[in-house]
Symmetry: C2
Subunit: 582 residues, 2 copies
């Protein structure tokens, strides 16, 4: 491509609504333009990167035996009513009416449509397994779209759906997709992690997320550097931090802690470690026609409640925080000095695993300005219900027993999920097995956020000058910057020759023939993030040299004119080969 | 691809709602499945053909210098309000509301979005010309979607939009797109015709349609076999069929024609050629606060009114047919024997060009059971307003003076259009010219119906057994049918070897390793329409022969085993090369 025939829409400033660096840089590099909230046009430079992501995903899906099809964006409500998601899905599901007042949705995902295809097309076990995928535009009506392509409303996804005879088959299909995803992100060249979305052990898990590691990621990921354990903090098992409970050593005692409602303040006042204090969290669950149940969840002072885990506890699904009135009614005192001892009314107590193995701990006294110290299970309190209800912390033991957890942040770009028979049952997608008996198909679903990958790649790879693309998804792999293309015959000839050589070698090269000043040229291509740059100038040519700079390097170097093309070709090829043969 | 790992969904019967052959065959071949009215899923076989169409279109767009981008499906109402199409566009425009009750449309086309991009991005004449295109899913809420992909609601289009400094630039951009379209349809291998959508002369025209020729086409096309004239019958110039008006030879005479209201019956009764009679068509146009104007349009008895041409006559835009009451009021007689002579009230008369050069003709007498014969202009009637208001017929002179018109039927698959400044003016898309003065951009728009091309190709290429794909867009170019793949080692070895050889040569080959009976295999692939078939059987192998059959041929032939792969490779390559070097 020659720059004079291309469209380059770089901007000096990002719009003020661009809060994160990938959004800012995609705007400034002329990759995207806002059409409405969370809805973008992809300008030519942006689309080039999207197409490269798509091509890698498509190759790996095909390699894994998945079959590409294309389902519609506009889907009839009937299918969503069959699966019950017409009611269950929130307002992110854009429900529309056609001219005949019939209900439709703009598909945020395609489980219903693909299950409808499967139940019509697949009659016999001989047709299984099959895995259908598509690369398609989705719509989710986010209440607050933001962060550019990271949380848009209209976006491109690869979604795949596997159908198997039984759970063993599903596990195999799932493994194939898991491996394909590893190859996809390896080939793209991103630092990523597959994390368990539920219990953390690869293989046994029914769901994994693929995260691109970046400080700006929305998700916290717990991982073990000395094993392959990784899980979303939302889901990572928190083991007890004390294997056994020490015997009581102190007497229980009411202790004045005037003005010290927080655990940190109490620990400081009493000169004890924070790890000796207990945080009491008061929740309520509704009971139809009766008073709400009040719960007290006990966490160690330095721990935090894990909402998802709490919601999974028997009786706690759909909990809310108790109101001040409920707290006063139950504990006889306002929030601040609450604890499980001497409540006014009965409550349900759940102790976190770590709390369950503590002794001589400190809880609120249910009296303003007082705590109780030296509290012990069994002696001062009945043995509690024990559960994992906290978030893991860096330094916690890894649930696989193979080391210590660390925490990093990630951007979810892929998700693999064993659906089982959820949709097959709801929509009657069954097949006849070897014995001629009907059985529901076992389904898996597998998503990759194509457009989101661009944002995630940038969050992981940028500097003050702009984007630093991996070769695999760069809009161009190499840029040629001639100094005086319009003035110097020698420069123009060499630039044209290099351009022809690189093109013939299959390199995606752009020749900047716009006649811009070097400063403008360099700034544009550094902002756009082309990974390799060759500068062709009269001064260098006199010595038969070209200036080469990798976008990621701080310094340029000189290459012999005769060798420059080959050096760059080899660099690009080596980068693109990464992960291909896995 | 091996058939055992692919999804083949052939059907014995097409559903009853499939009215035309392409819809029936696409369903039966397992290319498409209905999701809702006019909304389809493209199964793997169908998507393969779509992707091949897309690839050819993309290559030719790129070759013509157009730049690919991608605009959103969901578009804000504000843009459509700016262009005034929010009000003007009919209910085909699906208007929707998001969760915040804001108005959006699902884009049936993208003039507004692309003009918005242009007005923001293009500041200077130095950035022009530019041509942006996309291959994207569109939605048009057809009142009665039918004919499968031919008139669906959700469909894939290539739409391109050119921006130029001036009309000369627009004409050049238009020519480039016109030429690219010729290459696209030539490469696909369809019999097609570029027809003027308005005045029929290529170059001078502001709009051309590209039609695939097929007897089942919705459009009638007039073309001259001895020149390059071609136009939609809607738009084709109808010349007078008599160069000069003969002198009157008869006296005007009221003649009884009892019960003969139609021209054909009158001509038969009077024993004169139908070409001597005049058909009177009575129209009305509204006048605010006054009586409607009544028009009498005069056509030769064997001619038919062209609605589009009539609508272009001064004063006639938006006409309707006159009511019976209006006719009685104006002519003093009910419909049946109407004419321009002796009307009760004044009327406006327009004579078709041919009528204007007639003499001694026959018109209705405005009296039941009577006509007037021997009528002549100037003598019996004032000279009329003359206009081209009829449809051309086969045998008419070609407007370019180079022969005689013929009529064929076509399916519109592409349209190129000079928009001029319609959207630039409405939406303020201007640039600074060489003198620093703002000027509106000259726009063109250029569409190709990607999914419709599949239907059109089938309407042109099928037989009783199924589809006959051109190689360019066939889901597979070659099918290998081994007879007893699971039973005969020799057959399996040869089939595998051929498969490897063809794949290595870049041929898109499918090996039918399903173990189906020959009858089932042959029927499937003939229905699906794979253009080349090689049959590998023990009997042939004994003589070192393979059976080859082109889908289009009636008979199979035997090829030497050693030569078979090369023969097929050459056939496919020759077909794919068609039009590439143009």
């Amino acid at each position: 491509m020659k720059a004079s025939r291309f469209f380059i829409g770089t901007l000096k400033e990002a719009p003020t609504d661009a809060e994160i660096v990938s959004h800012q840089l995609m705007m400034r590099a002329g990759m995207i333009r806002r059409v409405a909230g969370g809805i973008y046009s992809y300008l030519p430079i942006g689309l080039r990167s999207i197409r490269k992501v798509e091509a890698i995903v498509r190759e790996e899906m095909n390699r894994a035996g998945a079959l590409e099809l294309l389902m519609p964006a506009v889907q009839p409500a009937e299918l969503w009513q069959e699966s019950a998601r017409w009611e269950q899905y929130g307002p992110e599901l854009l429900r529309i009416k056609d001219r005949h007042d019939r209900d439709f949705v703009i598909g945020p995902t395609h489980e219903e449509v693909v299950t409808d295809i499967a139940r019509r097309e697949i009659k016999s076990y001989r047709q299984l397994p099959v895995n259908f995928y598509q690369i398609q535009t989705k719509f989710r009506d986010e209440i607050r779209p933001r962060f550019g392509v990271m949380r848009g409303r209209e976006f491109i996804m690869k979604d795949a759906y596997s159908f198997d005879r039984d759970q063993a088959g599903l596990a195999e299909s799932y493994k194939k997709m898991f491996d394909a995803y590893v190859r996809v992100f390896t080939r793209i060249g991103l630092e990523f992690r597959a994390v368990a979305a539920d219990n953390g052990s690869i293989g046994g898990s029914g769901s994994h997320e693929f995260h691109v590691i970046a400080d700006t990621g929305e998700d916290a990921i717990a991982y073990c550097p000395t094993s392959d354990y990784a899980a979303n903090v939302e889901a990572a098992d928190a083991l007890p931090l004390n294997a056994t409970r020490p015997a009581p050593a102190e007497e229980m005692k009411k202790t004045a802690t005037p003005g010290k409602a927080k655990c940190e303040a109490v620990a400081e006042l009493l000169d004890i470690p924070l790890q000796r204090t207990i945080k009491s969290i008061i929740l309520a669950t509704e009971n139809e026609g009766a008073e709400p149940t009040i719960w007290l969840l006990m966490l160690r002072g330095d721990h935090s409640l894990n909402d998802i885990k709490a919601n999974k506890q028997p009786g706690l699904a759909g909990y809310r925080f108790a109101t001040e009135a409920e707290i006063i009614d139950t504990f006889g005192t306002p929030p601040g000095y609450l604890g499980p001892i001497n409540t006014k009314k009965p409550i349900k107590v759940i102790a976190d695993r770590t709390v369950a193995n503590m002794s001589d701990f400190v809880v609120g006294a249910n009296e303003v300005d007082y705590h109780i110290t030296g509290v012990n299970w069994g002696r001062d309190l009945p043995e509690p219900v024990v559960a994992d209800i906290r978030n893991v912390l860096a330094g916690d033991p890894s649930p696989d027993g193979k080391g210590t957890l660390e925490i990093c942040r990630g951007i979810e770009v892929g998700h693999v999920f064993q659906l089982g028979t959820k949709y097959s049952d709801a929509m009657g997608a069954s097949f006849l097995d070897e014995n001629g008996k009907p059985a529901p198909m076992q389904m898996g679903c597998y998503g990759i956020g194509i457009t989101r990958i661009l944002g995630a790649a940038i969050e992981q790879n940028f500097d003050a000058k702009g984007i630093i693309w991996p070769e695999s998804i760069a809009p161009f792999e190499v840029v040629l910057c001639p100094m005086g293309y319009d003035r110097s015959d020698a420069v123009r000839e060499q630039a044209d020759k290099l351009y022809a050589t690189l093109q013939a070698a299959g390199i995606d090269v752009i020749l900047d023939d716009r006649g811009e000043r070097p400063g403008v040229m360099f700034a544009d291509w550094e902002l756009i993030g082309v990974p390799h740059r060759l500068v062709i100038g009269d001064r260098g040519l006199k010595e038969s040299k070209l200036e080469y700079q990798a976008r990621r390097d701080a310094e340029a170097s000189l290459l012999p004119l005769d060798d420059a093309a080959n050096v760059v070709i080899e660099k690009v090829r080596a980068a693109l080969a990464r992960g291909v043969s896995q």
